[in-house]
Amino acid sequence: MDLEHMKTAWKKEKSFEDKRLTEADIKAFLHKKSRDISRLFSVGLTFDIAYKGIIGISFLGILILFSGNRHIILMIAVILLGLIWAIIYQWRLIRRVPGTGASDPVIRTSLENKVLFYHEHYIKSLYVGALSNSLIILSGMLYYFYFKYGEVRAFQWDDYLVFVAAIVIGFFVSAIVQRSQFNFQIKQLESCLQEIDEDTITSQTIREQQNKKRRMIGIFLLAIICGLLVLAYLIFR
């Protein structure tokens, strides 16, 4: 097969030179939103900061409603401090999101920056983000108690179980779903990095990656089994 002949044909191909895009088309593209994974990181963090802000307001409302209950006030104070810490953490993280755009980009560096940011920072942030769902469930329950009974009634042991299960499931469903979505995309970047390093990759690296994959599958299965057990209990009790 004469690849040089193909190369000459490629150089002579006129179709690529057609001016399909007008300046107006190019201008219109500049007003659209990027679908780059870096933007997804930033949007995810921004959305969660706003979500946490709303949750904070909802807890302030509970604080007013239960102003006579010292235990509730203490719990909400801890939650609000936690929310403030989480918002500051995520706000700082937005500024560290690596962009694709650079004046003189190197493909390997750009891929490495994103993969590293995801593993070192964004995964933690997904768990911090998943806390929002647990807190919204908690605030919903407190509002329910207030408007139904005017107070938080004494719990039986199975009430605790339902209550804690809802909060834990809210947390894990959000964390696992988001993590698996991002993993799907990050794996594509990792496979490009592997392709770049193909000639230098050692058997030790391959073994490490296989072990890591096995660990992840184990954790994922454990989370599913726990979720199913709680669900089965709630249905058949």
């Binding site: 500049l30 962009g99 190197v106 493909i107 390997r108 995309q185 770049i196 000639d199």
Partner: protein, 164 residues
């Protein structure tokens, strides 16, 4: 005023060098909607980086680097998040968008079966870029470029032979 001038200058440069975008989309897009998305993403990233373009290299060289980097960093989203109305299941036929010679159509079909980095190396080779330039774009050594290029060309030749 200055911003408008830079904006206009950018539009003119992209309009003039748009063949680079078409070639990269031709190689990396899997379907028509993918091609449009990639075109958009490349232009957005070029605009974002444009302010830091110092002019040390030729505009086309810089444009290749940003556009290739964008194409390789582009990721597919999980099935549930993909718009069900998109045409992603329809195989991409480049002859819908380009009036290509038969040879180029075979070359396209062969390149589409390569991995992402192999595609980049083959594209830069087709564009007669130097080994140093390819090495700098990807972030590997010149020696590594020659090894990878030999392998990619062998693989490409093999696929083309099967296709013919």
């Amino acid at each position: 005023m200055k911003h408008n001038r830079i904006h206009q200058q950018f539009l003119e440069l992209i309009h003039r060098h748009q063949s680079i975008i078409h070639k990269i989309c031709f190689i990396y897009a899997k379907n028509s909607s993918d091609r449009e998305d990639l075109q958009q993403e490349i232009i957005l990233q070029l605009w974002k980086s444009y302010s830091s373009f110092k002019g040390d290299a030729a505009f086309s060289t810089w444009m290749y680097r940003v556009a290739l980097n964008t194409a390789i960093n582009q990721t597919r989203r999980p099935g549930l998040l993909v718009d069900s109305t998109s045409t992603s299941d329809v195989p991409y036929d480049p002859s819908d968008s380009y009036h290509l010679s038969e040879e180029i159509q075979i070359l396209y079909r062969a390149i589409s079966r390569l991995k992402k980095i192999e595609k980049a190396i083959i594209l830069l080779w087709l564009e007669e870029r130097s080994y140093e330039e390819i090495a700098a774009s990807i972030g590997i050594t010149v020696k590594n470029v020659s090894v990878k290029l030999v392998r990619a060309k062998e693989k490409l030749a093999e696929i083309i032979t099967k296709l013919q």
